[in-house]
């Protein structure tokens, strides 16, 4: 473990001794690489050093591919010089959530049942990144199979919140968000089934975007709730998110639910102009259960947008309380089927001792899956079982239709919906898991967005009294990523850079925590 932080950091700018390579946004780093101020190897090494220094305390990564990343760095450097890679993110390192398949690099979904699984293929989103000259640093920790909101259900131990190591980073993309917040990676990929990008982004003070369903191919994303899952970017700011989405979004013939979208030029929406933009705040999101400081953050963003010429008003979205039960029925049902393939036959964990086939199945699965995953598989199997399908599954799909309709009505009146990303800031480790239902309720503002297939972006606003970040969410109509990107960008211009001062404090904490662990 590196104990001397300053030795590991690379000062690159005279007159700004404190600014590290790892502090840069992905686009800033990409520019430096393009202008040959920084080599790809230097950029990658800086991230690897940061990971070596911080991740022992943070637990953001499940796998770090140091050798692979450095070898790839040299390859990409040549590719940049030859003109093969000329995009804005060429040479910029990235961390990938561990439920997204990476050829030759272990992909565990933070589960014992896939503890040794090395895919022989890459997810389409990963291939898209590689075509743009990305260098994969490693795989980030998550709630097991993306089931959870705290990254505590990982079989490999929890990830901690870089703003306060006693707190969770949120989940399920907690590893990706923590890694970006702690500057271990300039950006990361996450996945979002019920809020798994937006909620941890909010808890970690980073920006996370969940695209419209069908925008990023799901091929190679290990399925949790197939009708809800989407891969999306996690980065330091809105510009990065737009640029990353531009790279990973594609129409993929391998994914039947992939949508052939014409306009994928998301960065063209990066303009500080929200004049006339109609913004609605669901008043039914602001009631009981919402933390006052979070409510204040939402209002702060509303004020900024209003000042910039947007028309902001509250409205009644309706059906809010039905999203969570509908979600848990649909997601659990799909998960119970999606996770049936993990059986000890073709890959992953097989129990050591068993008697016969069915005992092998049962033991491998019972030993291989964690508690939360088993809970959802049981619930999902139950709601699909004979006699219950109509009452639970079809009822949930009908509710989903109504929720979609209520959003359709809202988007007739508004361009963008402004909402909290989570009712509270990051809880302490161990607080949430004791009561699963309470944990599920934490997803109340994010879940309906997945049910309706909408895009949403979570942007940091400020910190609470305890110094933990608060983020808000901007929700758009289907295929209207550009509107939420523009609104988020405009807000961000008023807010200014979110990272530096707070993270500087966090670095000290990380170093001391790393020392303790070391």
């Amino acid at each position: 473990m590196v104990s001397d932080f300053d030795a590991a950091g690379t000062a690159y700018e005279k007159g700004n001794e404190d600014m590290q390579l790892t502090d840069l946004t992905a686009l800033e780093l990409g520019r430096k690489i393009k202008e040959k101020e920084v080599s790809v190897r230097e950029a990658v090494q800086a991230s690897l050093d940061r990971i070596a220094q911080a991740d022992g305390a943070l637990g953001g990564f499940v796998t770090v591919d140091e050798q692979g990343a450095l070898a790839r760095a040299d390859e990409v450097q040549k590719g940049i010089e030859s003109g093969q890679y000329n995009g804005a993110l060429a040479g910029v390192p990235v961390a990938v959530k561990d439920n997204i398949c990476t050829e030759g690099l272990k992909t565990t979904c933070s589960s014992k049942i896939l503890y040794n699984f090395v895919p022989t293929y890459s997810a389409e989103a990963v291939l898209n990144l590689q075509r743009a000259g990305a260098v994969i640093l490693g795989k980030t920790n998550m709630d097991e199979f993306a089931m959870g909101s705290t990254t505590e259900t990982s079989a490999f131990g929890p990830t901690r919140n870089p703003w306060n190591l006693e707190h969770v980073p949120g989940g399920s993309s907690g590893g990706s968000c923590a890694a970006v917040a702690a500057c271990e990676a300039p950006y990361a990929l996450g996945s979002d089934t019920g809020g798994s990008i937006r909620q941890p982004a909010s808890f970690c003070g980073v920006t996370g975007l969940k695209p419209t369903y069908g925008t990023v191919s799901r091929y190679g994303l290990v399925a949790y709730g197939s009708s809800l899952d989407q891969i999306g970017p996690i980065a330091k700011d809105v510009s990065d998110c737009a640029a990353i989405l531009e790279v990973i979004a594609s129409y993929d013939k391998k994914d039947s639910t992939s949508i052939d979208r014409r306009e994928l030029d998301f960065t063209s929406a990066l303009a500080d102009d929200v004049k006339g933009l109609r913004v609605g705040i669901p008043s039914d999101y602001l009631g009981e259960g919402l933390d006052d400081e979070v409510r204040a953050a939402v209002m702060k963003v509303a004020d900024v947008l209003r000042e910039k010429g947007a028309v902001v008003e509250e409205f009644d979205l309706s059906l809010v309380e039905y999203a969570i039960p509908a979600y848990y029925v649909i997601a659990s049902a799909e998960a119970s089927s999606n996770l049936a393939r993990f059986d000890g036959v073709k890959y992953g964990y097989r129990a050591k001792d068993y008697e016969g086939l069915h005992n092998m199945y049962k033991k491998s699965r019972s030993e291989g899956f964690g508690e939360e995953v088993k809970r959802r598989i049981m619930l999902g199997s139950f709601v699909l079982s004979s006699g219950y399908y109509d009452a639970y599954y079809l009822k949930a799909l009908r509710t989903k239709a109504l929720i979609k309709q209520s959003f359709d009505r809202a988007f007739e009146k508004y361009d963008v919906i402004l909402a909290p990303a989570s009712p509270t800031t990051a809880p302490k480790l161990g607080e949430s898991l004791s009561d699963p239902l309470k944990m599920y309720l934490g997803d109340i503002y994010t879940i309906s967005v997945n049910l309706a297939g909408l895009p949403g972006i979570s942007v940091p606003v400020c910190t609470d009294r305890a110094g933990l970040p608060i983020g808000v969410q901007l929700i758009g109509d289907c295929f209207k990523e550009k509107k939420i990107i523009r609104a988020a960008y405009a807000y961000e211009q008023a807010r200014g850079r979110f990272s530096s001062p707070e993270l500087a404090a966090c670095e000290k904490k990380l170093v001391s925590a790393a020392k303790e662990v070391g």
Partner: protein, 97 residues
């Protein structure tokens, strides 16, 4: 709790899901599923009569492949992660009695 999950139900769902729960886990599962279902029962407040179940959010249909062979022999890759293999096949406990 309105929804009482019986031992038989937990046993049955365990067979469906191929999960073997300890007695303690079974008790926990009974409690958890019961509580979740109480919560899910909230959906019954909603009148959904005449509402079509919505599987796919977008009305996309007819996504096809042409009938052309695109894959080559990838056996080594396919077997690379097998917990047990023999003669190019996945090895499992015997399936016939």
């Amino acid at each position: 709790m309105a929804n009482i999950i019986s031992d038989e139900t937990i046993e049955y769902v365990g067979i469906l899901a191929k999960l073997e729960l300890s007695d303690e886990e079974k008790e926990q599962a009974k409690h958890d599923i019961g509580r979740m279902l109480d919560y899910v029962d909230k959906l019954n407040e909603l009148d959904t009569s005449g509402v079509e179940p919505l599987s796919h959010v977008f009305p996309v249909n007819n996504v096809f492949r042409e009938d052309v062979v695109t894959n080559e022999d990838e056996r080594e890759k396919i077997l690379a992660n097998a917990p047990a293999e023999k003669d190019g096949a996945f090895k499992v406990p015997k399936t016939v009695e």
